[in-house]
């Protein structure tokens, strides 16, 4: 395996050529011990690629592989049984995967939860909701651990006590974005996994991210888009998913919300519509019985509280706006807002901007 790892790590050789070369030579070991004259005869490799192989020979495959094992990272090349079959069926499957933790279960349903990094509280809430309910029903959530919807999707799945998998655009031992280190640890602790096609230690180069999107959709059965702007990166994932023949669902949003333009457009073009996690589960063929609808009427609110609560939504509203809508006095509004916040019905998202929970 050490030679396989050595070969997979060589950069600057086209994915297809790599696979073809290995097919020709049968093992990576053979490539490592190949004579220079013989290498020059391989015609589908150009000179610089041949040079790269020769240069790579200076590394010690044994030492490199040992340090990989020490880090607890598994190396899974495409010809092994462990390699996800679903992924292998896409046209440009990765040569090898590096995995920390586990890979998604072959038998389980897998859903990719993607969306904008700069999402609104609306997208955040539904990413958590969908992640949670789906995880509770055994659906494994796959996403990219990015800021915004991705991270929230993972968080939701963790809340639902499910396994969730993060596909990174950097090495699996690099936590990007850094503030998600807590999430990174929690995913591993709950039996999920961190997956990447980049060798460990690769920094988060921007050009790697569109490529990792194909793995996210390639690993899953369906792709759920929570929020996407007009030119969102999530739409790249959607295009790739459609190429790979995955089903795409989108969460509808208000027509005037910039962060929902992409989603609404997808629905117009015929994507599935996400109205609630339960309805989606039914479409997947899993019953959504475990639902206790927590109606608003359950909350014991007084008239004025009700008045104020009803004017809040999932898009943040400032106290000034609330004042204007409710026509209440400043001190009344502050009192009610804080009492609702203390009871956990609303949340202060930025100073004096509130959303409902």
């Amino acid at each position: 395996m050490k030679y396989e790892y050595w070969f997979a790590k060589i950069q600057g050789i086209n994915l297809r050529k790599k696979i073809r070369l290995r097919q020709c030579m049968k093992t990576a070991e053979a490539i490592y011990y190949i004579e220079e004259t013989q290498l020059k005869k391989i015609e589908f490799l150009n000179e610089s690629e041949q040079d790269k192989i020769l240069k790579a020979k200076r590394q010690d495959p044994e030492k490199e592989y040992e340090s990989l094992c020490e880090k607890g990272i598994r190396f899974i090349p495409h010809f092994t049984d462990e390699y996800p079959e679903k992924l292998k069926r896409i046209s440009d499957y990765p040569y090898a995967l590096y995995v920390k933790g586990s890979l998604p279960d072959k038998a389980a349903k897998k859903a990719a939860l993607v969306g904008a990094r700069r999402c609104t509280p609306y997208g955040e809430k539904y990413a958590v909701d969908f992640g949670k309910v789906l995880a509770e029903h055994g659906v494994q959530i796959i996403s990219g651990m990015a800021r915004g919807v991705d991270g929230m999707g993972h968080r939701g799945a963790l809340l639902g006590n499910g396994k969730t998998f993060a596909v990174l655009g950097c090495g699996v031992d690099v936590c990007y974005p850094r503030e998600h280190i807590g999430l990174y640890v929690d995913i591993l602790e709950q039996g999920g996994g961190i997956i990447s096609e980049m060798p460990p230690g690769t920094p988060p180069f921007p050009q790697n991210f569109p490529a990792r999107n194909r793995i996210i959709s390639g690993l899953s059965d369906v792709v759920l888009v929570m929020e996407a702007g007009e030119k969102s990166g999530s739409l790249i994932t959607v295009d790739l998913a459609l190429e790979q023949g995955r089903e795409v669902y989108a969460l509808p949003g208000p027509v005037n919300s910039r962060m929902s333009i992409g989603c609404n457009e997808l629905i117009r073009q015929g994507a599935g519509i996400l109205l609630s996690p339960e309805m989606f589960l039914e479409e997947l063929g899993l019953s959504g019985k475990k639902t206790e609808k927590e109606g608003k009427n359950k909350k014991m609110l007084e008239t004025q509280e009700e008045l104020l609560y009803s004017c809040l939504g999932l898009y943040p509203k400032s106290v000034e706006e609330i004042l204007k809508e409710t026509k209440l006095e400043v001190r009344q509004v502050m009192e009610i807002l804080v009492s609702l916040e203390l009871r956990g019905y609303i949340r202060e998202i930025s100073k004096n901007h509130y959303i409902i929970v």
């Binding site: 990094r117 700069r118 609104t120 800021r147 991270g151 929230m152 993972h154 968080r155 974005p177 503030e179 998600h180 807590g182 999430l183 919300s257 910039r258 962060m259 898009y315 943040p316 400032s318 106290v319 000034e320 706006e321 004042l323 204007k324 400043v330 001190r331 509004v333 502050m334 009192e335 807002l337 804080v338 009492s339 916040e341 203390l342 956990g344 202060e348 998202i349 930025s350 100073k351 004096n352 901007h353």
Partner: protein
């Protein structure tokens, strides 16, 4: 007579040090010696004095002159020794008679013999009165300022000649009425200056911000205004200057002393009668803010003593500049240690700060173009411990067109000020024994005593502590703010609704994480 001594004084930091100026004239080589640990501006006094004496029509014989400023161990600086040195020499020469023992002289001389204005006259005269001095000869430009001290004979001198006449009691004193200043109403009349601040009535919308400003001023709480550009943060701060409660005489003199030391009072405004409102630009240095120099000068925070220090664009300040404010914000004075000693300056100010929520200023609106990382980096420019010292934090939101076109005027600053004065008076009576003046200054036992909570109220705070994850300092800030809100309603007990409102204005310490 060939030896004489004259009493003078100088400012050290904010303290007054009395200096005896001694002169001795004897036969010998015609040299002029000055001793007594002098800085160069004092050494130069020799030339000024000799020329001024000559040009004022006195004779200066070719004799050996020695001038000593005692105590000799203290470093002397400033130009206020010119006049006492001249007086000492003239007396030693026997050209004039020795003045009374309890007469203090200060003033700077020009070569032509005229006496120039000096700074720090008020504290010197006040201190002199304590010491038992009966008569002060000061530059005529400083007379109004010096006359604020009652039961003291103040004589102004425009020239050295006049000063000499004053010493000899020959000068027919212009009757300077020591103005009878006993209360604030009178106080105002002594000052012709009328400062103009924007009125809250002209502020459109922003009822919420106005309310927070009222609470902040009523209790002397620190206030942070967050909001997009053009939302009226700076205007709110300036309006706050217009609703500050009036000063009483003691406070007024306390402030004037600081201003006098820095030479910021003049004949027109000998007394500071309005609470100071100091707006500091974000390029300010540490020394400018808290005071600095080998012998420190008071900085902006001392100039804002008993008033408001306004820091606009808070994140643009250098971080270390803001950090130096932490100790004065808590202790309400600043202590500067130098080689020559320790200097303590009062700094009991109310902090008003303004900032944008993010670099573009629009967060959390949808049209904000900043990334979460940028927003966090921007907000992180101000340290947690600094923000922890701010009692109220409000968001000033973008002004809507409906508000701008609204002809109706809001409540005027005058009405708001009336309420504030009432609440401040309540606090003054309540805290008579503790020496505190405002709710914001409550601490330790006094806090527990005056901010007692009932069982229902305790439960709310318990809930808030876990839900809003307050710090211990944050907790006491909420109590103090709630105390002020209760005072505004003239309620003796702090009720749940007061706590709830106070919690709404709390400084949040949220971080952007999943």
């Amino acid at each position: 007579m060939s030896f004489s001594t004259i009493l003078s004084a100088v400012i050290e930091g904010l303290e007054v040090a009395f200096i005896h100026v001694e002169a001795d004239i004897s036969n010998g080589l015609p040299v002029f010696h000055m001793v007594g640990y002098l800085s160069s501006e004092v050494k130069e006094a020799g030339e000024r004095v000799r020329t001024a004496i000559k040009n004022s029509g006195f004779e200066y014989p070719a004799k050996r002159t020695v001038v000593n400023l005692s105590p000799a161990t203290m470093r002397k600086h400033g130009a206020s020794f010119d006049l006492p040195i001249a007086a000492a020499i003239l007396t030693a020469l026997g050209q004039i008679e020795k003045p009374e023992k309890d007469c203090l002289i200060i003033g700077e001389l020009s070569l032509g013999g005229s006496v120039k204005k000096v700074s720090g006259v008020l504290p010197i005269v006040m201190e002199a009165k304590e010491k038992g001095v009966r008569k002060c000869i000061v530059p005529s430009e400083n007379v109004t300022e010096a006359s604020l001290v009652s039961e003291m004979e103040i004589v102004g001198a425009a020239t050295l000649q006049e000063a000499v006449e004053a010493m000899q009691n020959r000068r027919k004193r212009k009757k300077i009425q020591n103005k009878e200043i006993t209360d604030c109403g009178n106080l105002r009349k002594t000052v012709q200056k009328e400062t103009k601040f924007p009125d809250f009535a002209d502020m459109k919308g922003q009822e919420f911000v106005k309310r927070a400003a009222e609470i902040a001023v009523a209790g002397g709480h620190n206030l942070l205004l967050i909001g997009p550009p053009g939302s009226g943060k700076s205007m709110t701060a300036k309006c706050i200057a217009g609703i500050l409660p009036p000063l009483d005489l003691r406070e007024s003199l306390e402030i004037t002393k600081i201003y006098s030391v820095l030479g910021l009072v003049d004949e027109k405004t000998p007394l500071i009668v309005d609470r100071p409102f100091r707006e500091v630009h974000h390029t300010a240095t540490k020394a400018a803010l808290i005071g600095g120099g080998t012998i420190p000068h008071p900085g902006e925070i001392s100039l804002a003593h008993k008033g408001v220090l306004f820091l606009d664009e808070l994140p643009e300040f250098r971080r270390d500049t803001l950090e130096v404010l932490r100790q004065p914000l808590e202790e309400r004075y600043v202590n500067l240690s130098r080689t020559y000693g320790n200097y303590t300056f009062p700094a009991n100010f109310m902090l008003v700060a303004a900032m944008n929520p993010c670099p573009c200023g629009c967060f959390p609106n949808a049209n904000c173009t900043c990334t979460p990382l940028q927003i966090q980096a921007y907000q992180n420019r101000i340290s947690r411990p600094f923000l922890d010292r701010i009692d109220l934090c409000v968001e000033a939101s973008q002004v809507k067109y409906e508000h701008l076109s609204d002809e109706q005027k809001g409540e005027s600053s005058k009405e708001i000020r009336k309420r504030i004065c009432r609440v401040r008076e309540m606090q003054r009576i309540r805290y008579k024994e503790t020496g505190n003046l405002t709710n914001a200054m409550l601490e330790g036992d006094a806090l527990n005593k005056y901010c007692k909570l009932g069982t229902k109220e305790k439960k709310v705070m318990e809930q808030a502590f876990s839900v809003m994850n307050l710090t211990a300092r944050g907790y006491s800030r909420i109590l103090k703010t709630a105390r002020t809100i209760a005072d505004l309603e003239e309620s003796d007990a702090i009720k749940v609704k007061h706590l709830q409102e106070a919690l709404g204005y709390r400084m949040d310490n949220r971080k952007y994480t999943v």
